[in-house]
C-alpha cells in the first residue's frame, strides 16, 4: 500500500510545479522557464471579479413585476405551473376570506402541512433531498467548492486539441488550437453547469449538464462565429430529472448517460432521436456520479447513500456495492477498463476493484493508497498534507494518477494549498505534489486525452487560472494508439492478502 509518507516533500513556497521529467517534478518561479514544443494549450486566467454570477432570484422578482390583482384562477394556474401542487396549495391557503370559502383555505393549509410532513420524512431517509438544487450540485460536483469557483467545469475534446470551459456566469467558452476564435455558448436554460463532456467520435457535439435539463451543443468547428445561436443546442429533458449533476458519453459515441441526485433512474439518451430509456433501480435515492470505462463495457454509478453500482453495458444489469462509511465520491477507470479506483466519503483511502470476464474473480475492493495526514518538514517548517479525495484522474496511458485532496477545514496549514500527489501507477511509486501559484487552491483536474510525450494534466485553480502541467515519460506499455495493453498495476487481490484487513464487503445482484 502506498501512503503519503513515501512522497517527496512539497516544493518551497512561491514556486510553481512546471513539469515532470526523469520521474521528478521540476519547480520554478514562472511559467516561461520551459522551452515550448509544438502547440501549447493556453494558460488562461478568469479572475473571479470579472465574472458576474447569474442573479436571477425568481421568487423575489415576482413581487416586483407581477400585478397582484389577478384573479384567483390566474394566480392558481401560475402557482401550479411554477411550483406544482405545493405552490397551488400555498396560494389558496394564503387567500383572503372574500375570495375563497374558509373551509377551503383551512383544508389547503392542512394538506400543505401534511405534505411537508411527509416530505420531511422522505428527506430524513435521504437527507440530500432537502437541499436546494444549487446546493445539491455543489455537494455532488467533482469540483471542489463548486459554488464559489470561477471555473465550474472543464472538458478536453477526446481527439483534437480543443477544450471547453464553463464559467461562473453560466457561459461556456471553447478554445481550439487551430483557430483563433473562441466561441462563447450561452443559452437560456444553461444554468448551474455541473459537467461538460465532448461526444467521442464526433467533432462538434458537446453535452452540458445544466440545472434542469441536458444541453447538447453542436458547435461547427469551421464556423467563425463567436456566439453560436441557441438553435445549435438540443435540449434534452425528462420530468423529475433535475438537477443533472453528471453525464457520460459512451466511448463509441452512440449513447449519453445522465444522472440526477433526485431521480433514482439514470437516463440512457439516444441523442439524435431525443428519446431516453430510464434505468431504474430503487435504493440509494438518486445517482450522483457516472463514469464510463474507456473500453465501454462498464459504467460506475454512485448514489447519495453508502452504495454504488457498477453496470455492465451489454445487457445493462448491475452489481451493487454497498460501502461501509459514506457515499462513493469519485472514481476512475484504467484505460483497458478492467480496474476501477474509487474513494469513499469519510475515508482517506483509495480503493481498487478489478473486473475480469472470468468467473470467480475477486469480489472485494482492496485499499491501494492511504492518504491520511502526514507532516513533511520543509524549509518553511512543518507542512501537513492529507485528507479525503475530491476527484481523481488517470491518464490515458495508465501511468499517472492525479488525486485532488480535500483538506480538513479548521487547520489553516492545509487549507492554504491543497496539494496534488501524483502517483505513478506503474509500480505505484510516488512522484510528488503539484503546486500552483501561492494562495491558489486546485479545484478541478483532467488529463489531456492524447498528449504525445507522456501525459498532460490540466488543473483549474481557485483564482481562476487554468494551467497545464506536462509529465514527460516514455510509456512502458506501448503507444497511445494501442490502449489495449494495460499497465501492470499490482493486483489488488494479492495486496488484500498482504494487508490482510480492511476489505470492503460486496454483494452481487443484478
Amino acid at each position: 500500500m502506498n501512503s503519503l509518507s513515501l512522497f517527496p516533500p512539497p516544493g518551497p513556497d512561491g514556486n510553481i510545479t512546471l513539469f515532470e521529467s526523469n520521474n521528478e517534478l521540476v519547480c520554478g518561479t514562472s511559467l516561461g522557464s520551459r522551452q515550448k514544443q509544438g502547440w501549447e494549450p493556453p494558460s488562461l486566467l478568469f479572475p473571479r471579479e470579472s465574472l458576474k454570477p447569474h442573479s436571477r432570484p425568481e421568487s423575489s422578482s415576482k413581487a416586483a413585476f407581477l400585478d397582484h390583482r389577478d384573479t384567483l384562477w390566474m394566480r392558481s394556474a401560475r402557482a401550479w405551473r411554477d411550483s406544482g401542487l405545493s405552490g397551488l396549495l400555498d396560494e389558496i391557503a394564503n387567500c383572503t376570506e372574500e375570495e375563497v370559502p374558509r373551509w377551503l383555505t383551512v383544508g389547503c393549509s392542512w394538506t400543505l402541512a401534511l405534505l411537508r410532513w411527509v416530505s420531511s420524512f422522505h428527506g430524513s431517509l435521504f437527507p440530500h433531498l432537502t437541499l436546494s438544487s444549487e446546493d445539491m450540485v455543489a455537494e455532488f460536483s467533482q469540483v471542489l467548492d463548486w459554488s464559489d469557483c470561477a471555473v465550474r467545469a472543464f472538458a478536453w475534446h477526446p481527439h483534437t486539441d480543443k477544450f471547453a470551459v464553463s464559467l461562473l456566469d453560466d457561459s461556456i467558452r471553447i478554445y481550439n488550437s487551430k483557430s483563433a476564435t473562441a466561441p462563447t455558448l450561452k443559452h437560456r436554460l444553461q444554468r448551474n453547469v455541473a459537467a461538460l463532456q465532448w461526444k467521442p467520435l464526433c467533432a462538434s457535439a458537446l453535452a452540458v449538464a445544466c440545472h434542469n435539463c441536458l444541453l447538447v451543443w453542436h458547435v461547427d468547428p469551421t464556423s467563425l462565429s463567436t456566439r453560436p445561436s441557441s438553435g445549435c443546442a438540443q435540449v434534452l429533458s425528462h420530468p423529475g430529472h433535475c438537477p443533472v449533476t453528471s453525464i457520460a458519453w459512451s466511448p463509441n459515441g452512440s449513447l449519453l448517460l445522465s444522472a440526477s441526485p433526485v431521480d433514482t433512474a439514470m437516463m440512457v439518451w439516444d441523442v439524435a432521436g431525443e428519446s431516453c430509456v430510464p434505468l431504474q433501480r430503487v435504493g440509494g435515492g438518486g445517482v450522483t456520479f457516472l463514469s464510463w470505462s474507456p473500453d465501454g463495457s462498464r459504467v460506475l454509478a454512485s448514489t447519495p447513500s453508502a452504495l454504488f453500482r457498477v453496470w455492465e453495458t451489454r445487457t445493462w444489469t448491475c452489481e451493487r456495492w454497498p460501502c461501509l462509511k459514506g457515499r462513493c465520491q469519485t472514481g476512475c477507470w484504467s484505460p483497458d477498463g478492467t480496474r476501477l479506483l474509487f474513494s469513499v466519503q469519510g475515508e482517506m483511502v483509495i480503493y481498487a476493484l478489478t473486473f475480469t470476464d472470468a468467473p470467480g474473480s475477486s469480489k472485494a475492493a482492496a485499499i491501494v493508497a492511504d492518504l491520511s495526514e502526514t507532516s513533511f518538514s520543509t524549509s518553511q517548517g512543518q507542512v501537513r498534507v492529507g485528507g479525503q479525495v475530491q476527484t481523481m484522474a488517470w491518464d490515458p496511458r495508465g501511468e499517472r494518477l492525479a488525486v485532488l485532496l480535500k483538506g480538513t477545514e479548521p487547520e489553516p496549514v492545509i487549507s492554504q494549498h491543497i496539494l496534488l500527489p501524483v502517483v505513478r501507477s506503474h509500480s505505484t511509486t510516488s512522484i510528488g505534489f503539484v503546486k500552483g501559484e501561492s494562495g491558489a487552491e486546485p479545484r478541478l483536474l483532467q488529463f489531456h486525452p492524447h498528449f504525445p510525450n507522456g501525459a498532460l494534466l490540466t488543473v483549474c485553480w481557485s483564482n481562476g487560472r487554468i494551467s497545464h502541467v506536462p509529465f514527460f515519460f516514455v510509456s512502458a506499455g506501448g503507444s497511445v494508439l494501442n490502449p489495449g495493453g494495460s499497465p501492470p498495476w499490482p493486483l489488488p487481490q494479492s495486496r488484500a492478502v498482504e494487508n490482510g484487513e480492511r476489505l470492503l464487503y460486496t454483494e452481487m445482484s443484478s
Binding site: A203, N252, G273, W316
Partner: protein, 656 residues
C-alpha cells in the same frame, strides 16, 4: 405476401415462437389484471369491509372464471392480429388523403371490425363481473300503472356498456393506424425482457388510463347525439320496450351518473390495458436480439448463417434482426469477429466478410441513390420547364412499367398540376425502377384505393377550374406555393409535375362548377410537413446498423484482421460512406428536413421513425470518425478520388 413470408424457416422457427411466448405471458398476466379490475369495480369509500369481502367472493364466482376463459380468447386474437399487422418499417402517409386511405383500407377495416367485436366481448365480461344493473339486456318492466309484469323492457345500461366496448375497440384500432402502433422499433440498449417489461409497465398503465378517459369522453358525446339509433334498433328487433320511468342515457342528466362513468372508465382501462400489455410483450419478444451463427460446418445450416441471412429480402424482421446481430457482434464479440475475418478452408477466400460487406454497402448505396433521386425531383420541381427530353423519356417508360395496372386516367393529360397523387416517396422510387428491397412489401399497403387512382378520378375533371389552375402558370407562384414540396413526392413521374402550361388542355366542359369537394381535396393533399422526409428514412434503422456494424468491423480489423481481408474493401467502403454523407448533407439543406418533430410522450406511440434521419446522420459521422481515428495517417495510402480525399481530410482534421 404473408403466405410466402410465413413459410420462411425463420418465421416458422423463431417469430412464431416468440409471438406465442408473448401471448402466453399476456394470458398469464390476465388473472392479475382481472382480479384488480374486479376489486376496483366494487370500490366503495364508505363500506370498506363490505367492499373487500364482496370482491373476494366475486373472484371465486363462476362468472369470473368464465370471463377469464373468454378474455383469454380475446387476448389470443389480439396477439394473432399483432403478429399479422406488425411492421418494422412504418408506412408514413405523406398527405392527409393518404392517411384517410390508410384508415379505409380493407385490411384496416377487418382490423377495426374484429377489434370492435372483441371490445364488445371484453365489456360484456366486464359488465358481467360488475353485475348489478349491467346484468342483462332485457328485464321485466318496473311496475307501471296499467302494465302487467309480463312486458320486457330494455336495460339501457347494458346496451350503453356493450356499445362502449365496440367504440373503444374501434378507437383502439383507429388510433393504432394513425399513430403507427403496429410499428415495432428496436431499443437502443439491450435490456433483458423482464426488466424492459418492468420499466415500461407503469407507463403503459398510465397511458391506458388516460386513453380510456379520452375514449369515455368521446363515447359520451357520441352517445349523446346518436344514442337513440341503436336503442331504437334494438327495441324493434328484439321486440322490447323502452322503460319510460327510467332516465334515458342520451340526456345530460342520464350521462351525469358518476358511478356509470366510473365503471365505464374502469372497463375501458381494463380493455386497453390487456391489449396494450399484449402489444408491449409482443414488441419486447419480437425485437429481442437473435444470434445467428457466422459460419457453419454443416451444409444444411448454411442458409441460416449471418452472411446468407443478411442478403435475404423477404421477411423484413429477419433482415433487421440479422443487421442488429451484425451490429452487436461487431461491438461485443471478439470470437465472432474472428470468424468474420477468417478465410474459407479450401481456397482461402474471405467469403464471410465479402458477403457481409457487400450487403451493407449495397444497402448504403441504395439509400444514397434514393436520396439523390428525391433531390432531383425536388430540384426539378421548382423550375418552370425542367423537363428535359431525357427525363421525359425515362418517366414515360417507367410509367408504363408501374402504372400498367392502374386506370387510364393516370395518363390523361388532365391531371396535371394539382394532381399530386398522394402516394408516398416510396411509390415514386418504386416507379423509377429503383425498387429498394426494404420497402417492397409495404408499398402495396400505401396504394390504397384512395391514395392514387381514385383521387385522380375525383380531381382530374374539376381541376382546371380550381384556383390553382390559373396560378400555376406563373413559375413564381409555383415556386412559392406549397406544392414545391409536396409535388415532389408526387405520383408516378409521368403524371407528376412539372407541367409546362402548354400541356394543360382547355377546360373540360364538365368542369364548370368549382366543386367544394375538389377544393377540400386540394387542401387535404398538401403534404404534412416533413412527412416525405420521414418516409424517405423510414427504414433507416437498417442503414444505421449497417453503418455501425461495418465501421466497427473495419476499426476492429486494425488489430484483429490477420489476413488483411478488410483492407481490400476499404476504398469502396470509404467512397460509399462519403457518397452517402454528401447525399445526406444535401438532404438536410432542404426545408422541413431538419425540423424536429414533436416528441411523443408515451412509450407505446413509438415515434422513433420520425427522428431516424437525425440518427442516421449522427451514425454516419460517427462511423466515418471511427475509421479515420483508427487508421489515422494510413488512410492517405488508400486509393480514392480527389474529391473524396478532400472530404476525408476534413474528417481527419476534425472539421466535420
Amino acid at each position: 405476401m404473408f403466405n410466402s413470408e410465413q413459410n420462411h424457416w425463420f418465421v416458422r422457427k423463431v417469430i412464431f415462437w416468440r409471438a406465442a411466448a408473448s401471448v402466453a405471458w399476456s394470458v398469464l398476466l390476465l388473472p392479475v389484471t382481472t382480479a384488480l379490475f374486479a376489486f376496483l369495480s366494487r370500490f366503495s369509500l364508505f363500506h370498506p369491509i363490505q367492499w373487500i369481502s364482496e370482491s373476494f367472493s366475486l373472484l371465486y364466482g363462476s362468472y369470473v372464471i368464465f370471463s377469464l376463459v373468454l378474455l383469454c380468447g380475446v387476448v389470443l386474437v389480439v396477439g394473432v392480429f399483432n403478429l399479422e399487422y406488425y411492421t418494422v418499417v412504418p408506412s408514413v402517409p405523406c398527405t392527409k388523403i393518404a392517411l384517410l386511405g390508410k384508415v379505409l383500407h380493407p385490411q384496416q377495416s377487418v382490423h377495426s371490425l374484429v377489434h370492435s367485436m372483441m371490445g364488445i366481448m371484453v365489456t360484456w365480461c366486464a359488465a358481467t363481473m360488475i353485475g348489478g344493473r349491467y346484468w342483462i339486456l332485457a328485464a321485466p318492466c318496473s311496475e307501471e300503472e296499467g302494465v302487467t309484469g309480463q312486458k320486457m323492457c330494455l336495460n339501457e345500461y347494458y346496451l350503453f356498456f356493450l356499445l362502449a366496448g365496440a367504440f373503444m375497440g374501434y378507437s383502439y384500432s383507429l388510433l393504432g393506424v394513425v399513430r403507427n402502433m403496429n410499428y415495432v422499433s428496436f431499443q437502443t440498449i439491450q435490456q433483458c425482457k423482464y426488466l424492459r417489461f418492468k420499466g415500461m409497465l407503469p407507463q403503459v398503465v398510465r397511458y391506458s388510463a388516460v386513453q380510456s378517459l379520452y375514449s369515455v369522453r368521446n363515447y359520451c358525446l357520441f352517445y349523446f347525439f346518436f344514442g337513440y339509433i341503436p336503442r331504437a334498433w334494438i327495441c324493434t328487433t328484439l321486440n322490447v320496450h323502452e322503460d319510460s320511468s327510467l332516465h334515458r342515457l342520451d340526456t345530460v342528466s342520464g350521462l351525469l351518473d358518476f358511478r356509470l362513468l366510473y365503471h365505464l372508465w374502469l372497463s375501458g382501462t381494463f380493455l386497453l390495458l390487456t391489449w396494450h400489455i399484449t402489444l408491449l410483450l409482443f414488441r419486447i419478444f419480437i425485437t429481442e436480439a437473435y444470434s445467428f451463427p457466422v459460419q457453419s460446418s454443416f451444409s444444411e445450416d448454411v442458409s441460416q448463417c449471418l452472411p446468407k441471412v443478411l442478403s435475404e429480402k423477404q421477411p423484413l424482421i429477419l433482415k433487421f434482426l440479422a443487421l442488429q446481430d451484425l451490429f452487436l457482434l461487431s461491438q461485443q464479440s471478439l470470437s465472432r469477429r474472428m470468424e468474420v475475418f477468417s478465410l474459407s478452408q479450401p481456397g482461402g477466400h474471405p467469403h464471410n466478410w465479402n458477403a457481409i460487406c457487400k450487403e451493407c454497402l449495397s444497402l448504403l448505396s441504395d439509400l444514397s441513390q434514393r436520396l439523390v433521386e428525391y433531390q432531383e425531383v425536388v430540384a426539378s420541381n421548382g423550375r418552370a420547364r425542367p423537363l428535359s427530353s431525357h427525363s421525359d423519356q425515362r418517366s414515360t417508360s417507367s410509367e408504363t412499367l408501374v402504372t400498367s395496372g392502374t386506370e387510364e386516367q393516370l395518363q390523361t393529360p388532365q391531371q396535371s398540376i394539382g394532381l399530386k397523387t398522394p402516394s408516398s416517396v416510396f411509390l415514386r422510387s418504386t416507379s423509377l425502377g429503383l425498387h429498394t428491397p426494404m420497402t417492397a412489401p409495404f408499398t402495396p399497403r400505401q396504394e390504397s384505393p384512395f391514395s392514387s387512382s381514385s383521387v385522380n378520378r375525383f380531381v382530374g375533371n374539376v381541376d382546371p377550374s380550381s384556383p390553382w389552375y390559373g396560378s400555376v402558370q406563373s413559375p413564381h407562384v409555383m415556386r412559392r406555393g406549397p406544392k414545391l414540396w409536396t409535388a415532389s413526392t408526387g405520383s408516378p413521374p409521368g403524371s407528376s409535375l412539372p407541367p409546362s402550361p402548354t400541356t394543360i388542355p382547355s377546360p373540360v366542359p364538365a368542369a364548370q362548377k368549382p366543386g367544394l369537394f375538389s377544393l377540400w381535396l386540394q387542401n387535404r393533399q398538401e403534404q404534412l410537413p416533413e412527412a416525405s422526409s420521414q418516409a424517405l428514412f423510414a427504414d433507416s434503422q437498417a442503414h444505421i446498423w449497417a453503418l455501425e456494424g461495418l465501421s466497427n468491423l473495419v476499426a476492429a480489423s486494425y488489430k484483429e484482421d490477420r489476413f488483411g481481408v478488410v483492407q481490400t474493401m476499404l476504398p469502396s467502403i470509404l467512397s460509399t460512406m462519403l457518397l452517402l454523407q454528401e447525399a445526406v448533407d444535401k438532404h438536410f439543406k432542404l426545408p422541413h428536413a431538419s425540423s424536429k418533430p414533436v416528441r411523443s410522450t408515451c412509450c407505446l406511440e413509438d415515434s422513433t421513425f420520425k427522428t431516424l434521419r437525425f440518427a442516421l446522420r449522427a451514425a454516419l459521422k460517427t462511423a466515418m470518425y471511427r475509421i479515420t481515428v483508427t487508421f489515422g495517417e494510413h488512410l492517405h495510402s488508400v486509393q480514392m478520388s480527389a474529391e473524396h480525399r478532400k472530404r476525408l481530410q476534413q474528417f481527419m482534421e476534425y472539421k466535420e
